[in-house]
């Protein structure tokens, strides 16, 4: 395990395990937590007792900061982002923050332009355009 100092999201210097883990976008978490809440309400009568503070705060947060609300849109977003050989972490940051320009995308995820694999600006722009189309027609 690397030390805290070695880890820096901006340079994509993060523990190996993290690169392999399944990252989720806020909108995906919102769908999962909605469902979870429903299940719990069915399972026990006093669902309020089962809800931890962490769950509630996270649920509120993802509802507020989800850029895409409906399930199909969320699926499409992941599909578009995963066409571009992004790390899971990069994919989720882009999906969550929803940058509008190439410049902004690179400022949000500097590792898009490092690590020697440098995504073309055109490819990034196409990706952002596709995303904004989904947002528009959702």
């Amino acid at each position: 395990m690397s030390t805290e100092e070695d880890e820096n999201a901006a340079e994509l210097k993060i523990a190996d395990e993290f690169l392999k883990a399944k990252c989720l976008m806020n909108c995906e978490v919102a769908l999962i937590l909605d469902r979870r809440l429903e299940q719990l309400q069915q399972m026990s009568d006093d669902s309020t007792n089962q809800m931890s503070q962490v769950f509630e705060k996270s649920h509120q947060y993802v509802k507020r900061f989800s850029r895409y609300k409906n399930q199909d849109a969320v699926k499409q977003v992941r599909e578009i982002l995963s066409r571009n050989q992004l790390a899971e972490f990069e994919l989720c940051v882009l999906g969550n923050l929803g940058p509008e320009t190439v410049e902004e995308a690179i400022a949000m995820v500097p590792s898009l332009k490092t690590k020697g694999r440098a995504l073309e600006d055109d490819a990034i722009e196409k990706m952002l355009n596709d995303l904004s189309l989904i947002k528009k027609f959702e």
Binding site: E7, C23, V29, I32, Q53, Y61, V62, R64, L97
Partner: protein, 220 residues
């Protein structure tokens, strides 16, 4: 993606094995003790992680009418995760999404406890230094702003880390940028970079420092 799987569906055959074992004992458990294996995961985005744990069931908690085992296990697991709240290595535990398996239990000779290894998926979130994220303004003070983002509260954005913004106290306290005509007040959404993180053991949570130094950061 975990959306489609439910706790009930996911338990499967291993659950049956566990149930038969219980029926042999003619007992039922209530106490659920979980030992998570060590996984190190970084990043503030939400993660779905498979975790392994042990369920320790003391013999006096076992009971012949043990048919609600599965429900019991699920509820205890959820309760356990809720009370655990967070850890330094995993970050915040937000929700268990599926119980993948319950392996056959083993009796501990000295205590008579029964230990069930279980495997489940859990959504976690751990803040990571350098990451850009969004949060909501919670409190505005003269020296800076407190933000919250999901389970992480106490994210401090110092006045010194947002140079173009000046404190203003008209009706409501807020930070204003005259050049860009933008402001941050209670309830505003702000995009910021994580400057530093500290694990607070007494609170079982993280404290963070934020900065607006960088392009495209600030209120959105």
């Amino acid at each position: 993606m975990g959306i489609g799987s439910t706790l009930g569906e996911a338990v499967g055959y291993d659950y049956l094995g566990g149930l038969m074992f219980y029926q042999l004992l003619g007992l039922r458990f209530t106490l659920f003790h979980l030992l998570l294996t060590h996984i190190s995961i970084k990043g503030m985005v939400f993660l779905e992680v498979e975790m392994k744990g042990n369920v320790v069931v003391p013999p006096d908690q076992l009971d012949p009418k043990g048919l609600l085992l599965r429900k019991g296990i699920i509820l205890r697991l959820l309760e356990d995760i809720a009370s655990r709240k967070a850890s330094k290595d995993h970050g915040y535990y937000i929700a268990v999404t599926s119980l993948n398996s319950i392996a056959e239990g083993q009796v501990q000779e000295l205590t008579g406890n029964v230990v069930f290894p279980v495997s489940f998926n859990c959504i976690t979130q751990k803040p990571c230094k350098g990451e850009i994220m969004v949060g909501t303004v919670d409190k505005v003070l003269r020296h800076g702003i407190f933000l919250k983002a999901g389970p992480t509260e106490n994210i401090f954005l110092s006045e010194k880390k947002m140079e173009d913004y000046k404190f203003s106290m008209t009706e409501e306290p807020m930070f204003v940028n005259d050049k860009q005509q933008s402001k941050m007040e209670k309830g505003s959404k702000v995009r910021f970079r994580v400057l530093g993180i500290k694990w607070m053991e007494w609170d079982r949570g993280f404290q963070m420092l934020a900065t607006l130094a960088g392009d495209f950061l600030g209120p959105i």
